[in-house]
Symmetry: C2
Subunit: 215 residues, 2 copies
């Protein structure tokens, strides 16, 4: 996901605590991510950027005290190398996107996109790339999941279903008549193919796309 070895120094500005916590818990599962700061407001963000020195700033379009664009412009004027990822409330119009890119924002992800888009975009832009997922998708991050599922072998699909049902590995192994380690291998391979990193991603994916009748 990331080519460099250096950590991604992240600053997150999101107004609502519940949302910020959820996102941070998710992002902090990646040990390449080093959270160097967070705040609820644009003003607090501007005040602490100097000392926090993030490489990437995730900031909401609509903050309690200001709009993300204005804050981003201020931040970029002092830290031109900062990669800013804007979280928009709605899909962004071409007009508005042009304004954002003009301002030097590296990526826009809307709140209606899956969270994987945000994570992938995060790693994408820290290497200097620009990502405009709300308007067009360069390599369709996370939409390839359905195609990826079709790429699973029969055995892999079977294991995917069992694992997503939270059946313990050793039960699956017994049921299939193979070693636990083999089941683990299937699991690993499934995760790699689908681009997942944690069990909840697989559970949710299977429920949404291939599991109609849950237990």
């Amino acid at each position: 996901m990331s080519q460099g070895n250096r950590k991604l120094r992240l600053y997150v500005t999101i107004g609502q605590r519940l949302f910020r916590d959820s996102l941070l818990f998710q992002l902090l599962l990646h040990n390449e991510i080093d959270l160097v700061g967070e705040s609820e407001t644009g003003i607090d963000t501007l005040k602490s950027l100097e000392s926090a020195r993030p490489g990437v700033l995730i900031i909401e379009e609509n903050l309690p005290d200001n709009d993300g664009l204005t804050i981003a412009e201020h931040a970029l004027s002092e830290h031109p190398a900062l990669a800013v990822l804007l979280i928009s409330d709605t899909p962004v119009s071409a007009n508005r996107l042009a304004i954002y890119l003009e301002a030097g924002i590296k990526a826009v992800v809307s709140k209606h996109q899956p969270i994987q888009d945000l994570v992938k975009t995060l790693f994408y832009i820290r290497n200097g790339q620009v990502y405009v997922g709300a308007w067009q998708k360069p390599d369709a991050p996370s939409q390839g999941m359905l195609n990826a599922y079709n790429a699973l072998s029969g055995r892999e699909r079977e294991v995917a279903r069992l694992i997503a049902s939270r059946i313990p590995i050793k039960d699956i192994a017994e049921q299939l008549g193979v070693s636990c380690k083999t089941v683990h291998s299937y699991k690993d391979r499934i995760f790699v193919k689908l681009g997942f990193e944690r069990l909840p991603e697989l559970i949710l994916f299977m429920k949404r796309h291939h599991n109609g009748a849950a237990a």
Copy 2:
């Protein structure tokens, strides 16, 4: 956290995908939670409750197509045993809270509360309790964290700091001159004392309260 052994059958209605995903990934880490359905709108929710048969419904106050209260009232009229947890955008006034409780809503959590509040409330209300955290805190969930930190022993604090810095366990063990298993024990004890379940919670807590200068 939960006294019964039966799974918590959960339905989640949240408009924004990014937010819904983050929350679901978090909640699905608990294997007592069985997600039986999710949707973006109130109408879709009402349509699928019959077949999904959740025990708890998490629903936003402001949905794209309707308001959560109206949907909850409809849902409760058909499924009186359903425990509804409303996610409000702002702290709820006493007036509004009275209306919610009158309607049979079991809990209100605002988007400005930490996510632990939501998780704890979820398990709380499924046992028939009522929780009104946005207005008053019955047992101050998650605010006890700071007090809990004071209850950590010296050694525990030291290990908490090292673990939160993502220093590998075996390095910590070596550095402290004890076995890996001992470090694990400290970690377990820290998690129990602070009420945490995943590493990101500890990382975030330490950054926010006891780690001023992050590496």
